[in-house]
Amino acid sequence: MESTILKIEQFSAFYGATTVLKDIKLSIPENKITAIMGPSGCGKSTLIRCINRMHELNPDATVSGRIFLDGEDIYATDPIIVRRQIGMVFQKPNPFPTMSIYENVIAGYQLNGIHLSKDEKEKIVTDSLRKAALWDEVKESLHRKGTFLSGGQQQRLCIARALAMRPEILLLDEPTSALDPKATSHIEELIAQLKNNVTIMLVTHNMAQAARVSDYTAFLYLGELIEFGSTGTIFTAPKDKKTEDYLTGKFG
């Protein structure tokens, strides 16, 4: 049995009077890829946005329940600290348009005013780009703007930027939904390699993607966690009727 890095307990999230997540209870295993799957509007994005406390940026948003990272309640920690430990990559690639590729990778340090020596910078940039499988493509053009890259490269740059902060968990919010199939398979290969370094939570509405890359799968429906288990079990022998219906294309 693997160790648990993130523990979600009786967690609910709301937008105003609307309940988006209901009593979620979930333990995320360390150094594995956990896919969060479900139809549109089931609360998958909200769930991971609650994990790095991005959910509360919406003024109407509230939550109840607790989430523990390594035993520490993240809702009792400063969100700025939480977000440095839990990185996030978004649906649409969003490199900083004013910065070069190099600056984008160390943006987390620069913007936070953390001073690094030139050697440290070089090392972080090289390491992060290597981990994000982008180094070979950009090593000649590190000082060009990140926005000149292709969509898939931009997304890998965003992954490198998140990895540069050495997070414990990397949240990926439908990271390939804005990319073409080739770039998608590239990112999927990358995700599979990354799990040695970091725990990954991947939101996807693409079942095939969940089946291809994840070790564990959580199935969410209308804000409730219907089923959680190893991906093999969920896809071959789901316990819940709703999971089975979703997987066989009866809805969603």
Partner: protein, 282 residues
């Protein structure tokens, strides 16, 4: 079945295009006439000493506009220093908080401020600054011009920042960057070209203002670099010389007009350059 009037349609189409073209052309004509007229009248007095000498008393030949040039730059510097921080931060406020009573109030005040005639702004600066300090001054003129620049800068900042995608702000916040740093280092920086454009256009707008300076900067025939003393500016000099009875001074007024218009044109062209060069691609 009736025949479809194709010929008539084509004709209507063509005449519409011709009308649009003619009217657009008519619109650029005045600009060229103004430029041509001022250049032909003013360029003859332009030479090095015109730009580097002080005005001379009536009857003496020569004389230049150096004090007005310096005064104009002083006023622009003062008004920019006053209006840019206030304007940019107000613009940030309006783009960040789009609802609420204070936002409504701020927006209403800006619209009102924009509509206030420049001469009234001059009176306000007179009452606020000239009266208590007991002297006309560059500072009071700068305040009056700053009040005129504010609405332009605020609106430019707000509109620019509204166009910055939320995804950039999220990218920064998700890296654990605090809200103020996110706004200043990511959002503001991404909108820099738009904000700079607003600032430059507002400078171009107030560079030729005369009315609010009549009882603030006041004008002066001497060299002045003290911001607490009256200074001359190009528009004030043009006003005073053009309304004087001396043909010699009329000539100088044309020359000063030429310099002013070249300055404003220069700012506008520079603005275009900034917009194109610094444009941020999302």
């Amino acid at each position: 079945m009736r025949e479809f009037p194709v010929r008539r349609r084509i004709l209507a189409d063509k005449s519409f295009k011709v009308i649009i073209l003619l009217l657009s052309f008519a619109c650029i004509l005045p600009m060229f006439f103004i430029l041509f007229f001022i250049t032909s009248k003013g360029i003859s007095v332009i030479n090095w000493s015109f730009l580097t000498r002080l005005p001379k008393p009536v009857g003496e030949a020569g004389g230049g506009i150096l004090n007005a040039l310096i005064g104009t730059f002083m006023l622009i510097t003062v008004s920019t220093l006053l209006s840019v921080p206030v304007g940019v931060f107000t613009g940030i406020f309006l783009s960040e908080y789009r609802k609420g009573k204070l936002v409504y109030l701020v927006r209403l005040s800006i619209e009102t401020l924009q509509g206030i005639p420049s001469i009234v702004i001059g009176i306000i600066a007179y009452v606020w600054i000239v009266v208590p300090m007991g002297s006309f001054s560059a500072l009071s003129g700068g305040v009056a011009l700053a009040l005129m620049m504010l609405p332009v800068i605020i609106t430019a900042t707000e509109e620019t920042l509204k166009l910055i995608p939320d995804s950039l702000r999220e990218a920064s916040l998700a890296l654990g960057v605090s809200y103020p740093r996110t706004i200043l280092k990511v959002v503001l920086l991404s909108g820099l070209s738009g904000i700079l454009t607003g600032i430059l256009l507002s400078v171009a707008r107030v560079a030729g203002e005369t009315a609010p300076l009549l009882f603030t900067a006041f004008g002066s025939p001497f060299m002045g670099i003290n911001i607490l003393k009256p200074v001359n500016t190009l528009p004030l000099m043009i006003f005073n010389y053009a309304t004087s009875p001396y043909p010699e001074w009329h000539k100088l007024a044309w020359g000063a007009s030429f310099v002013l218009i070249v300055f404003v044109l220069g700012i506008n062209l520079f603005t275009k350059l900034v917009t194109r060069r610094w444009k941020v691609q999302f």
